[in-house]
Amino acid sequence: MIRIILNDDEITLDQGDTVDALLQQLSMDHPERIAIAVNDSVVRRSDWSSYRLNDNDRVLMIAPVQGG
């Protein structure tokens, strides 16, 4: 098991889990609008299925909202 910080929440994943596995675990809606950075580097959508998360990774997940 590994622990990551996703935004402000601690999440437990299996060793070797990818970004895709994380999204599946979260049952995220509208994943097409989401963008993700791990440890302050963007992980491109095309890499979600291969990018493996590590213990203590800081994952930033953002989505568009209303704003000026």
Partner: protein, 260 residues
């Protein structure tokens, strides 16, 4: 209505010179109706951390309208480094190289940090972004941003959401005179007359959010801003008469009742 000259920014031409912020609308349908009524072709959106415990309602679905493009902003960042990451995330999320760069660390007045803004503009322009930089109405800073590769400068009329109008008018005039990139007056525009004033002065476009979103009838207000922005631009293109101290008669002053 008579068409005005299209505005070119980056790789795109805009017929409408009114850009719209999407914040503060009471509902998505109201926001969408206001966007339509405004005639805008460019709307801003913000980016936020996804809250895992809340349902996600996708704002973008409500903004998918023909001819309307998205302009993600970097609201919430405090440094150039954060802004660059936000921009990269925005590009990934929305598949656009367009960016409204705003870096305002001070929550009370939301005034932009000029140094961080220049640093971020340099970096983001190198990465292929069309950076529209939100800044104070500082003519020297606007030239520095142009040199840094900004696609447009967005000097403020007054603090964000304040509806105070063009408090920075004298500096905006200098910026407009000197700028080699489009000047979009952003922030503080509280009434259609403020938008018309900016356009008459020769601003290339205006960005409005609060004044429309918090109006009693946002859809009607969006239409009012559409007309005012267009009207101001038409007046600018038609070249206004000069301001004079003395009277200049509009009617013949030759003898009429009395033979002199």
């Amino acid at each position: 209505m008579k068409q005005t000259e299209p505005l070119r920014i980056g790789d795109r031409d805009y017929q409408s010179r009114l850009f719209l912020g999407t914040g503060k609308f009471g509902s998505y349908p109201l926001m969408r109706q206001a966007v339509v009524a405004s005639g805008t072709e460019l709307v801003t959106v913000a980016l936020r951390r996804v809250h895992l415990h809340e349902g996600q309602d996708d704002v973008i679905e409500h903004l998918q309208l023909p001819g309307v493009h998205l302009l993600p902003n970097t609201s919430g960042v405090r440094t150039a480094k954060e802004a660059v990451l936000a921009a990269q995330l925005a590009r990934e999320s929305l598949q656009t190289n367009w960016l409204k760069l705003e870096i305002h660390p001070d929550p009370r007045y939301l005034l932009p940090d000029p140094i961080e803004t220049v640093l971020a503009t340099q970096q983001l322009a190198k990465e292929g972004f069309f950076v529209m930089a939100y800044v104070n109405a500082d003519p020297v800073l606007c030239k520095r941003l142009e040199e840094a590769g900004a696609a447009a400068v967005m000097p403020l009329g007054a603090p964000i959401g304040s509806n105070q109008g063009l408090q920075t008018r004298a500096m905006l005039e200098i910026i407009i005179e000197q700028s080699g990139v489009p000047v979009v007056v952003d922030a503080g525009i509280g009434a259609p007359s403020h938008a018309a004033e900016a356009m008459e002065m020769g601003a290339d476009a205006v960005l409005v959010n609060t004044a429309i979103a918090v109006a009693g009838d946002p859809v009607a207000m969006a239409e009012a801003f559409r007309l005012a922005t267009h009207s101001g631009r038409m007046a600018f293109e038609a070249r206004m008469g000069s301001v004079n101290k003395q009277a200049a008669a509009s009617s013949p002053l030759t003898a009429f009742l009395v033979n002199e």
